[in-house]
């Protein structure tokens, strides 16, 4: 079976600084993985490279059998490969409802946008309560919900979440964890980047762990099956 996402020997970085030194990773259509490791080990860079915010200098990325290496970000979103970035402030001067409506921007996502909007509000009732609030006035947890909500509005076929629980209280973490579990159960494959291994492990069945180790050639070491 061909994997849904296949990252092969990817090298990428910022200017002269190379962060990924030939990294490979693949994920099947039915699975979800977690990536963990300390700061500065290229987890975020990997996601940025997959979503093409950072252009790889070598290697290839295939999504659903199609080579997407070096394609523009909108083309990747159109294909359904969605990245919810870290510590997201989104669009500070936009209201929640406006942001979520806008997030269904791609042609593919505009189909059934209303249904997905209802689903997002059902998943995060707090967003429904604050529809007209500006994003910059939201708390960290609410921003994270909005960020994930936006990603869901893009109609993801594979969803990459970058540290969804960064800086959140244990209670909010629990709440978000449950929501992420729901998303996984609804059949969307996930790649979740976390520093909090406890969080990832507590959501096994939904997310299988994958360790990240810094080596001469960075690559995920292994994927422990639950």
């Amino acid at each position: 079976m061909t994997p849904l996402l296949d990252v092969k020997d990817v090298q990428a970085g910022y200017g002269d600084m190379r962060v990924l030194h030939g990294l490979s990773l693949h994920i099947g259509a039915e699975e979800s993985i977690g990536l963990f490791g300390p700061n500065g080990h290229g987890k975020t860079t990997l996601l940025k490279t997959i979503s093409s915010l950072v252009r790889p200098t070598a290697g290839s990325i295939t999504f659903d059998g199609i080579d997407i290496t070096g394609r523009k970000p909108p083309a990747i979103v159109e294909a359904g490969l969605i990245h919810a970035p870290q510590g997201n402030t989104l669009f500070g001067n936009m209201r929640i409802a406006e942001t979520l409506e806008l997030a269904a921007f791609s042609k593919r996502a505009s189909n059934g946008a209303q249904k997905r909007l209802d689903e997002v509000y059902a998943l995060f009732p707090r967003l429904a309560e604050r529809k007209t609030q500006l994003a910059k006035t939201l708390s960290g947890g609410e921003r994270q919900m909005l960020s994930i909500g936006c990603a869901l509005m893009c109609a993801p076929r594979l969803l990459m979440l970058d540290e969804p629980t960064l800086g959140l209280s244990p209670r909010l973490k629990e709440e978000l964890g449950a929501a992420i579990g729901e998303i996984s159960k609804s059949g969307v494959p996930l790649i979740v980047v976390e520093q909090d291994i406890e969080f990832l492990l507590s959501h096994r069945p939904a997310i299988s762990g994958g360790a990240w180790r810094r080596r001469a050639r960075d690559r995920p070491r292994e994927r422990a099956r639950p």
């Binding site: 001067n93 936009m94 806008l102």
Partner: protein, 287 residues
């Protein structure tokens, strides 16, 4: 009383003019984070294109205004492509593009001088006749400007608030990466914002072309005023820019009455410096 009303009307005309100019400048600033110093030159080119189509070709002033608007918009797309897009990733984008757009201004002004020559030109008014406003006679063309400016500003505002494309422009202005991650084509959004802004400048030039003379340097004074307006308003929303435009228009009209034409620019700048000292984020900007 008559002088007061006449001054108010004159302020309203100036305010409409500045609002049209400054809204385009502000759109580029909020979307791209770039100050377009070629905005005045684009206005001038719009006026010359309008003159060519209307007078030299003989297609009439309405066709002239349309051609001036579209022509300036197209040139805007070319400018964005050639001298702004290559510097998106540059850390000094603001400074570099200040220089490149200044260079474009010089090219456009010299180019206009070569193409259209030094003779003063003027467009016929879009509508003939006079209209009485508060007991003052103003030309129907100026009255048209008074109506057109708010209509265009409201249309632009509705576009950025309600339409998908307009919202995507605001999104790009607030967070480029996040906009790209929901599928917005950021370079395309930049080009569109620049095109709309340039078209607005061209339209202003074409309308102004029958009030003032069309010369290669005609854009520099409105550009300075539009910059004052945008900074005065607080470098932000369309609403504050429009508000500041009318405020500056009225202030200028009254300054002309009180201190005379000669000292008015000086007094305006002095006022702007004072406002920025007291409210560093502009008169409508949030503290």
């Amino acid at each position: 009383m008559d002088t007061l009303l006449a001054t108010l009307v004159s302020g309203l005309v100036l305010g409409s003019l500045y609002a049209l100019m400054a809204s385009g400048l502000s759109l580029v600033w909020t979307t791209l984070g770039v100050f377009n110093f070629a905005h005045g030159a684009l206005m001038m080119v719009g006026a010359f294109i309008a003159w060519t189509v209307s007078e030299a070709v003989g297609a009439g002033p309405v066709a002239g205004v349309v051609a001036g608007t579209l022509g300036a918009g197209l040139i805007g797309i070319v400018i964005e492509r050639l001298v702004i897009r290559p510097f998106y990733a540059s850390r000094n984008m603001l400074l570099v593009t200040a220089m490149t757009t200044l260079a474009v201004t010089i090219i456009l002004e010299r180019g206009a001088q070569m193409i259209w020559g030094p003779r003063l030109k003027q467009l016929p008014p879009l509508v003939d006749g006079e209209i009485r406003l508060f007991g003052n006679a103003i030309s129907a063309h100026e009255a048209l400007l008074l109506v057109a400016a708010p209509v265009i500003l409201i249309a632009l505002w509705r576009f950025t608030v309600s339409s998908k494309i307009g919202r995507s422009l605001r999104a790009v202005g607030q967070n480029q990466d996040s906009a790209a991650l929901i599928g917005v084509d950021v370079p395309k959004a930049f080009a569109l914002a620049f095109a709309i802004s340039a078209a607005l400048a061209g339209l202003t030039g074409a309308l102004l072309g029958s009030i003032r003379f069309i010369t290669p340097a005609m854009g520099s004074e409105p550009l300075t005023k539009a910059m004052i307006v945008v900074i005065f308003g607080g470098l932000g929303s369309l609403g504050s820019t429009a508000g500041a435009a009318y405020l500056i228009g009225f202030i200028e009209a009254f300054l002309v009455l009180w201190v005379g034409l000669y000292w008015t620019p000086f007094a305006l700048f002095l006022l702007m410096i004072l406002v920025l000292l007291l409210r560093p984020n502009g008169i409508f900007g949030k503290r």
